[in-house]
Symmetry: C2
Subunit: 412 residues, 2 copies
């Protein structure tokens, strides 16, 4: 018996017709001999509607009740999908999170899956059931309350089930047909990748390519789950979409796999900061407490015992960051001359495991940007990623230039 | 500690604003010192939407999946109501059926409540919680599947909780301000009753006065739950609405408490039926198997070993009834000369526990109808009810005439 996990996102189950179409995809896999675990999201728009009601009812809501309300959309889809499969004479039934049970932490709104007992579902497979339809995004806390895994959490549900049931593969059906070298909306040469390494996908996911929830990729990497992203709107073969897989399953690769961007960034600089041990902690501690997601950090060289400290954060957190820093100054915890904010920047990154073996990727990147007259404001690098902060008006140009420079329109 | 059960129907929680208004009503009772169990229905329209999706997905649906889908509307309202109460600084939390757990039979779509353990909710009350918000209409089967109690089932949930927790009263908030002597839409002299006996309410409920689910009244009668029907759209006092109570709690009563009607009835007559022992069973057995709800039955006196058999059923079951009877004739199970169907009839009934002590109610009823030239086609009686089948065109006239004849516009 081979178990396949198939996950359908909100647009893939947006209405009764789309649920019927998704059910046909499931039937194809059942006919191939798989027992299938289907993970479903809420019908597109439903979760937003529920979240809206919660916010209208209680601006400062209790996260436990938020979870009880917002998890209901997935239950509806799960029941409807099971019914549709039964109509096609495929033995199927639905499971809500608490019925499996999907055991999570008590961190309501962003709970982590701790265990998925497989006995109940395996027994049903043993009794002839061919498809278990499971409501994604939800679980149950040790206290018996309903939890949710955060937006996009159904991806994580799918990967966790694939790991728990040792599935042959986890197919994520979505409204795009795979992972691209960059966003096709701003670069018409963007090319769909047949394969991408977990590490690359992680960097791309956290950089804003919203194909998969970051946590689902981490989980897939840890448990070596073969993860495939493909479109629910096209006829599919076993080779369709993009396979997110272990580095060693990728034979040959470009130095760079993709170019990612993040539009709404802000750059903040503290000038005239006293350069002493512990100063970074004194600055970034209050920012963290204020809920500011600091991304890139650069410290200039010190002169006369003073330095400049630059960091980036999402644009809509600037006010919070300014308040936190001014309060820290008022308390005497830090001292700086000036706080300079630039809200007109964007982040552009190149990502690729090939960087480990290909030298000169950074130089090639900076050269391509310079050739287009794009000024770089901040640079950070990791083993498989180079990111730069640039003026937002050059963002599209930079993405296109880098896509060309690394030959991403051609396969490796 | 006194526990009060309050139930809010679909129109009373139709949107976020109405939920807020209902929460204010709950706050009033909390301020009086009650611990409150709130039972909520789905927001008006939600359950119909879900049922529509199920029927579209699978015309011959699996009742277990139907229940899993349709129960989700109540979960949303329960969470929102708890959130709203918390906003008003009232300690509250929501419970879904499986969390209590509301233990029911496995009769999906029309399950019966078997037990409601009180420990969890009582412990929370002991810890300072003031309101337990429970999703109505749903429970959990011995197999761990979600069940529903049938349309209007939240009334039954409310009464069952009131019985289990020995509540001081069970208040049913709805879109009408109580139980009337008859339908105010067809008789402008209709008067709201302050009190009505369980038995009377049962007859009225089963006759089509859709204020309360019949089963909830039966349950209230069995467990002596004081049941009050009142409007969620008006300011309310402790004496508002109509109290449905034990006969002995009603001091003085009219011979007749109310006039009920049922518009869409059909009268069917089998002529020339061989009058032999077991003939009634031979006729009504097949009708029952075909799902025809036979209401009134009249057998004429026998002549020459033959008789006529007349019965009534809902208009939309006529085709089913005709098919079943013709098939029984074809099989040789029964014999009749002709099947005469009259789809233009209505049923009008007078109901009152006072009939037990007041003589001549039937005569008074027939006289009042005769005075208006209304011909009676079929009559049936019970201890506290007299029903007649008449031409549908006289229905409103008959209701008004009977309301006048029994002086229902004046209190006893």
């Amino acid at each position: 018996m081979s178990i396949l996990v198939m996950k359908f996102g909100g647009t893939s189950v947006a209405n009764v017709d789309r649920i019927a179409r998704a059910a046909k995809r499931v039937a194809v896999e059942v006919a191939k001999g798989h027992d299938v675990i289907v993970i479903v999201s809420a019908m597109a728009g439903e979760t937003n509607k529920l979240v809206g009601w919660v916010q209208e009812t209680a601006p400062l809501y209790d996260a436990r009740e938020y979870d009880a309300v917002t998890s209901s959309g997935e239950n509806v889809t799960a029941g409807l999908m099971a019914l549709r499969l039964q109509e096609m004479d495929i033995p199927a039934r639905s499971w809500q999170g608490w019925q499996v049970p999907v055991m999570t932490t008590s961190a309501h709104g962003s709970a982590r899956i701790e265990a998925i007992p497989t006995e109940n579902i395996l027994r049903k497979f043993g009794e002839g059931m061919r498809v278990a339809v499971v409501a994604g995004f939800q679980g149950i806390s040790p206290e018996g309350r309903i939890t949710t895994l955060g937006r996009g959490g159904s991806d994580t549900t799918a990967v966790a089930f694939a790991a728990a049931f040792d599935a042959v593969r986890c197919d994520i059906y979505t409204d795009v047909d795979g992972v691209y070298t960059t966003d096709p909306r701003i670069c018409d040469k963007a090319r769909k990748l047949d394969r991408i390494a977990f590490e690359e996908m992680l960097e791309l996911a956290s950089l804003g390519a919203k194909v998969l929830q970051t946590r689902s990729v981490e989980l897939a990497m840890r448990y070596k789950v073969k993860l495939r992203v493909l479109s629910s709107f096209e006829e599919q073969t076993d080779e369709a979409g993009t396979l997110v897989c272990d580095e060693e399953d990728i034979m040959e690769s470009n130095a760079v796999a993709g170019v990612a961007y993040s539009r709404d960034e802000a750059k903040m600089t503290l000038t005239g900061v006293a350069d002493r041990p512990g100063i970074a902690a004194a600055i970034f501690g209050p920012l963290s407490e204020a809920g500011v997601n600091v991304d890139m950090i650069v410290q200039n060289i010190s002169e006369h015992g003073q330095t400049d400290m630059t960091f980036s954060c999402p644009n809509d957190q600037v006010l919070r960051a300014e308040t936190a820093l001014n309060q820290a100054q008022a308390r005497g915890d830090i001292r700086f001359e000036e706080l300079v904010t630039d809200q007109g920047v964007a982040k552009v990154s190149v990502v690729g495991i090939g960087m480990r073996s290909h030298a000169g990727v950074a130089a090639q990147m900076f050269k391509a940007l310079a050739a287009e007259g794009v000024n770089i404001k901040v640079i950070t690098t990791s083993e498989i990623k180079i990111s730069v902060l640039i003026d937002r008006k050059y963002m599209e140009l930079a993405v296109q230039a880098l896509h060309d420079a690394f030959g991403l329109d051609k396969a490796a």
